[in-house]
Amino acid sequence: MEYLYYPGCSLEYAAKPYDESLRAVFRALGITLTELEDWNCCGATMYMSVDETVSLAISARNLALAEKSGHHDLIAPCSACYTVLLKTNRFLRESPELKAKVDLLLGKAGLRYNLTVNIRHPLDVLVNDVGIEVIGLCAKRTLDGLQLAPYYGCQIVRPERGFDDREFPTTMDRLFERLGASCVYFPLKTRCCGGMLMTTFPDVALKLVAELLECAIANGAHCILTTCPMCQVNLEAYQKRITRKFGSSHDIPVLYFTQLLGMALGCSEKELGLKRNLVPLNKALAELACQPAR
């Protein structure tokens, strides 16, 4: 199997462990990831607030390049990229007027886009293309006894119905339960982490993150799993500040789901970038990382 890969700006630096662990997981499963040649920023939520047409056009440049390379499935691991690229596809399909404008702009740059690219999230590819059973059989370590709070965030399941329920998805839960872990009661799994509000209105975002952390900790989770660079940084980087502000401890490791999956598949600590996480691994996770691979 082969997929085209669109890392997105965050995965270059701030979410480097996500990039590393994603590549490691796909390597371990024998799937080739080809990086999209000369990709550009998808525009994220912020470009959309300034200029809709240009935002769609620069996002569509990536899709046009992907189409030109002859691939049909494009993997976008960052939730913002995933939702923006999907939205671009949908808007261009549904609005002839926007499509005409975007075509014109792409044409100036010598590109064309015929709407043939599917945007996929790695979680979707792993569970629905590779299959939970296959991953279970490839596992080299067991996650027995590990209690997880899988956090999906907003943008991989919304606004349109994608590969899972929009308010109560279970894809990640099913995957990790097959690998031996148990998932705690975590009703806030698709509640917003605040995203860029952490920069623009920190007080609003800190409260949202505090509620997420409290919910996971109160229900006995050993770690939170995320699927998005923005969520991961928001949940991980401000724990001390939240503890100071709201009292009670808010310390809990926050891993990319691919990091834990990589551990189960027997990848090394270095391959998964585990040392790059700001919150060190706690006892339960450190024991798992030391477990010899079968």
Partner: protein
């Protein structure tokens, strides 16, 4: 003193212009026209994780729009607080694209200059766009540095320890990556400028001969 002569039932001039500008943008969004179906049930406000921090709730945004108070919406904190989580859009029983409408309102507010000075979201978005236009990709350090220097330099100092921790773990870089196809992006941006047509003049001029009720969409 307001010397404008108004036709009974018509809207005052600033309201008319802003509405036209907003609708021209919002109706381009697939499903944008569904805003007229709103039942005022309040599902959006109830589902919104940040409505507690808004000055007018998402439901009230639509109510105010109907009451011809668009300027009040554009001057509110609400449109800037939305974190774009799409919970309201998901739950709306009338399938109104509330998040997308808020984006259109943001753009209308920016285009009309109706936002408080040095407003955080505006500053951040503008800087983001400048960086993407220059390099083709976003660069977090550059974005945050430019934003905080203009918005609140003290907060930048507060962020330094976090920046250092990220740097030690190889999660930041001081140099942005430039893409090869930058020329293509520039061409598209340039072409987009020519696409922008000035807002069309209203078809009916309001003169002496126009009498009676006439609401402007």
């Amino acid at each position: 003193m307001n010397t404008e002569r108004r036709i009974p039932g018509s809207l005052p001039e600033p309201e008319r212009t802003l509405r036209r500008r907003f609708l021209a943008d919002a109706l381009l969004v697939p499903g944008g026209e569904r805003v007229s179906r709103c039942l005022q049930c309040g599902c959006c406000t109830g589902s919104c994780p940040v409505s507690y921090a808004m000055d007018i709730s998402p439901r009230t945004v639509i109510a105010l729009f109907r009451a011809a108070q668009i300027e009040e919406i554009l001057r509110s904190r609400t449109i800037w607080i939305c974190a774009s989580c799409y919970m309201c859009t998901t739950r709306c029983p009338q399938a109104i694209k509330i998040t997308d409408l808020l984006y259109a309102l943001k753009r209308t507010a920016m285009d009309s200059g109706l936002y408080p000075e040095r407003f955080p979201v505006y500053l951040l978005s503008k800087n983001f766009v400048q960086i993407v236009n220059r390099y083709g990709r976003n660069h977090e350090i550059l974005l945050l540095a430019r934003y905080y220097l203009r918005h609140n330099p003290l907060a930048l100092l507060q962020l330094l320890p976090l920046g250092w921790r990220m740097f030690r773990r190889g999660r930041t870089s001081f140099f942005p990556t430039k893409i090869k196809g930058l020329a293509a992006i520039r061409t598209m941006l340039h072409a987009a400028e020519t696409l922008k047509v000035p807002p069309a003049k209203e078809a009916v001029e309001y003169g002496k001969e126009v009498v009676g009720y006439r609401a402007v969409a």
